[in-house]
Symmetry: C2
Subunit: 562 residues, 2 copies
């Protein structure tokens, strides 16, 4: 901890030029394809083990949880898009996009842990484009197809020119802001789903939905608490933790049909005809039936999409491979960017919403693959205090593929009917559970709790406690909250799709401005590299922190920073 060499801020800010034994010297001089080639070279030797390692029980709960955590929010987003794009996108498009992402990334990605699917931002993107384009009389899906095609080209340029090396400047600072933002979007989505219940069905179903959502939240939270407690045999405990949320969803889907609730018609998740596009069209979008002017008008939109995906997908990958997970298989950001270009282009010409890396699902996926040891806390006399260490992560491709195939199965008629039974109140509850879970693990929450804590109740060994300037913690958190606030605010406006720009702008602020105001010790305690230097090797290593120091995790084992 606080393990940086004592340099003055100026030398730190210039440290981009610092040569590193491992990273290529002068990495920014473009070596076309170098990143992708190295990614493949690094990862290819693990390809066979990615399948053989899947023979592990952890794959089962991870698949089940991911299936629900991926498909249910996706269905909620599909409802949004269905209404706001004049039924150009529906359930089947969203499901197929998830399947496309899952199959391509589970089989071919350098980072198969990253769950790929339809996110909230892309929903916003899609209907914002619709609002702008529909008035011009342009073929909407054709236009979207061209956005996909242009974006494919841009993604490939990014991959070929190794632009993912910019990730070297992305630290916990930006990831925490983004994670905090996504958690609040989930909470907001949950509330939005509930407010929509005041519809034609009258008020009764609205309050019943809120009641169900609160019960789902309480149930999900209790399952999580039991998982972290010392109650019951570890198998029982682990079962509750692994399947608590899925079983909660199943239980409350049945729950609304008992007693008085049977008489209330609650809105459930919307579905449409199995396997067919929602609109009356074939799967292949007639993208050639478009004015040349419109084709070129798609370029600026494609650029925005590409910026969004560059940030969103890479941060998902970073968080999913965060330093808290003792990963042993290398990452490959350039190669995955190339793949993302392919899925974006294919999704475009099939008329699907573009899939990309999912937060918080991607890190939840890695968590659920962790093989943990839980022991009584040796530092505590209390019987209930436990210490959980991660032994290893079951790094494989099967759980990602399997949840994708389950989603494909869901597209068939009978399973769609089952999905159709799930009340929207349960979905809102799931949003709350995921929002709360994401907030609990977030660095901003943890710093806020530290600041709220009374002096004297904080262990002297706490890294933030050892900082002499307490206002530095306040200032750091304040910048994070302002970043979050700005991002969240912009999402509520028509400029919503520009939201990653704010977080993107905060990266150079952190990298080049912060060292002028904070000491290296402070930055060492307040911030951290998101992923280990082992994972970051793909993009030229960790920057702004000395690597190889004690608190930066290595494949051999993790030493927690906080």
């Amino acid at each position: 901890m606080s393990a940086m060499s004592h340099q003055d801020p100026e030398s730190l800010s210039r440290q981009g030029t610092r040569p590193s034994a491992r990273a290529q010297p002068k990495w920014w001089r473009i070596h076309f394809f170098r990143g992708m080639i190295r990614d493949v070279k690094r990862r290819a030797p693990f390809f066979v083990s990615d399948w053989t390692d899947a023979w592990d029980y952890r794959v089962v709960p991870a698949t089940v949880y991911m299936f629900f955590a991926n498909i249910l929010p996706a269905l909620a987003f599909s409802l949004d898009m269905f209404e706001k794009t004049h039924q150009n996108y529906g359930v089947n498009e969203v499901l197929l996009a998830s399947v496309l992402g899952a199959v391509v990334f589970s089989c071919f990605a350098a980072q198969p842990l990253v769950i790929v699917g339809v996110t909230g931002p892309i929903t916003v993107f899609n209907y914002t484009v619709y609002d702008i384009i529909a008035t011009r009389g342009t073929n909407y899906l054709g236009f979207m197809a061209w956005i996909g095609i242009w974006s494919l080209i841009m993604h490939w340029i990014i991959a070929i020119t190794n632009m993912c090396n910019g990730l070297t400047y992305v630290t916990r600072f930006s990831c925490d802001i983004f994670g905090f933002y996504v958690a609040f979007v989930y909470l907001q989505k949950g509330i939005q789903v509930l407010t929509r219940q005041w519809g034609s069905d009258g008020e009764t179903s609205a309050y019943l939905s809120i009641m169900v959502a609160l019960l789902v939240l309480m149930s999900g939270w209790i399952c999580g608490e039991i998982g972290n407690s010392s109650l019951f045999h570890r198998w029982v405990r682990k079962f509750i933790e692994d399947y608590g949320t899925p079983l909660t969803i199943v239980f409350f889907t049945g729950f609304v049909h008992i007693g008085h609730m049977r008489d209330v018609s609650v809105s459930t998740l919307p579905i449409s005809k199995a396997f067919f596009p929602t609109a009356d069209r074939s799967w292949l979008v007639r993208f050639w039936d478009l004015d040349v002017g419109d084709i070129f008008l798609a370029i600026p939109f494609a650029l925005l999409l590409t910026i969004l995906f560059y940030f969103d997908h890479n941060v998902s990958s970073l968080i999913a491979q965060g330093s808290e997970f003792p990963l042993r298989k290398p990452a490959g950001f350039h190669w995955d960017m190339f793949l993302l270009g392919i899925t974006t282009g294919v999704a475009g010409i099939l008329g699907l919403p573009f899939p990309n890396g999912l937060i918080p699902q991607a890190p939840f996926h890695t968590s659920s693959l962790c093989v943990t040891h839980q022991k009584p806390d040796p530092n505590s006399e209390s019987k209930e205090k436990t210490l959980r260490t991660i032994d290893h992560v079951v790094e494989q491709r099967l759980s990602n593929l399997a949840q994708g195939l389950l989603t494909l199965g869901t597209m068939s008629g009978p399973l769609l009917v089952v999905i159709h039974l799930i009340p929207q109140g349960v979905l809102a509850g799931l949003f709350f559970v995921m929002g709360v879970q994401a907030l609990q693990g977030n660095g901003i929450t943890q710093k806020l709790l530290f600041l709220a804590q009374e002096h004297g109740f904080c262990a002297a060994s706490h890294p933030l406690k050892r900082l002499t300037r307490r206002w530095a913690v306040w200032a750091f958190v304040l910048v994070e909250l302002v970043g979050f606030g700005g991002t969240f605010a912009i999402t509520q406006t028509i400029a919503a799709i520009g939201f990653p720009v704010i977080i993107l702008l905060l990266i150079p602020v952190r990298a080049f401005l912060f060292p002028w105001f904070f000491t290296p010790e402070e930055l060492g305690a307040l911030d951290a590299p998101t992923a280990s230097s082992f994972t970051m090797e793909s993009v030229g290593g960790v920057r702004g922190f000395e690597d190889g120091e004690g608190d930066i995790p290595t494949p051999e084992g993790v030493l927690k920073r906080e």
Copy 2:
């Protein structure tokens, strides 16, 4: 701990004859009035300080919390009685009974910490009597008055013949069963209040009420958690803990009037005309207008009532003066029994439900009067773990009197209107909060958690862990649960008013049967005296445990048993 001398079970069971330095030899030979006289002699010297000690801030939050915790359940019970006794009892009777209890006991009791009011069991008693009597054409309130008068006589006999000395056999075992039972009654009451919302107003208000009840529960629970955390300055934290529940009630009373909820008519607490009896009568019941046969028929009912009160009131007093509270002022069970006779008689001839000691309100009252010190747990490295020690209890009569006078004020017109605003859903939520709080502190819950805990996660210093026969813990808890189950089951039947008999029967089981099956070490770890030997001096000391041993609290300081 496990501090009993190693006697064989037989000698333990005969140990009733064991002479004690302090207890009178041969205490069961009746010395009329001796208990009452000694109670008064012991307590009288503290009477002035009972008022001067009230100059303490803790009295304020204790008064506010007790006002709500006493009056709101009482109003719920009044609703029950109103409906089931053909409107012989209503809000005003219940409020006046609470005032009567509060004024008499706060001013004259030897144990002014014990909150006296209208309980659930007495509600059941009242309408069971109504069901039996109404068909005979007897004047119901006149009959109840005679029950009160006969019961007064029986209470006085109990007090004069020192029968409260039987409390010496009451240990945590019986108190835990009773507390567990009451907690479940509260949870059940909350659910019953909610199920009643499916009335004429349709379903909407029902679901809104459930939603509000869940939110009240979550809010009340979070307030309690914050109070026990290390967050915020201790004043802020303490404020949230002290006023969290009252403010939650106030907040959610307003909450149901915003947004969509304004359009839903939720049922609120029922009220009637200020200061007048609910039925068309004067406050004095015409108890002389009754057949002589009916007067004598009241005797068996009075006996049942007396048994109920002997147990309920004394256990309330015991728990309110439990060994976890470092009390410095002596107790007086005999004198309070005498007073309870008076209030029972007076309540009878005024046509009020009979007040007696309230669980869990009475122990909550003592808790809220505790001046605590919260420090980081010295045995724990963790920053959040705190250790709370009770410095002293603000032992005085004012908070009890003040909450009684507030209740009297509530009987006036304007405040009754305010009370009338409180939705029944909020009340249900309060029931849940109190039920959950009572369960959390209960010894049965704690033993169940211990049993549910995985081996190896339990501190070796845990007293139950040191027992060689683990099945002994199971057996002990099982008997407790059977006792609870029997009591709870009987309450659901017509024989409801006989429920204390089961718990009463368990006292000799514990005192004379258990020593044959459990070793003294086991009983020492599994059970404990409810109150310290200092408090128990009024009834001849603690029996079944060696007093003066390290883990039995003394007025000088408490050494926690578990």
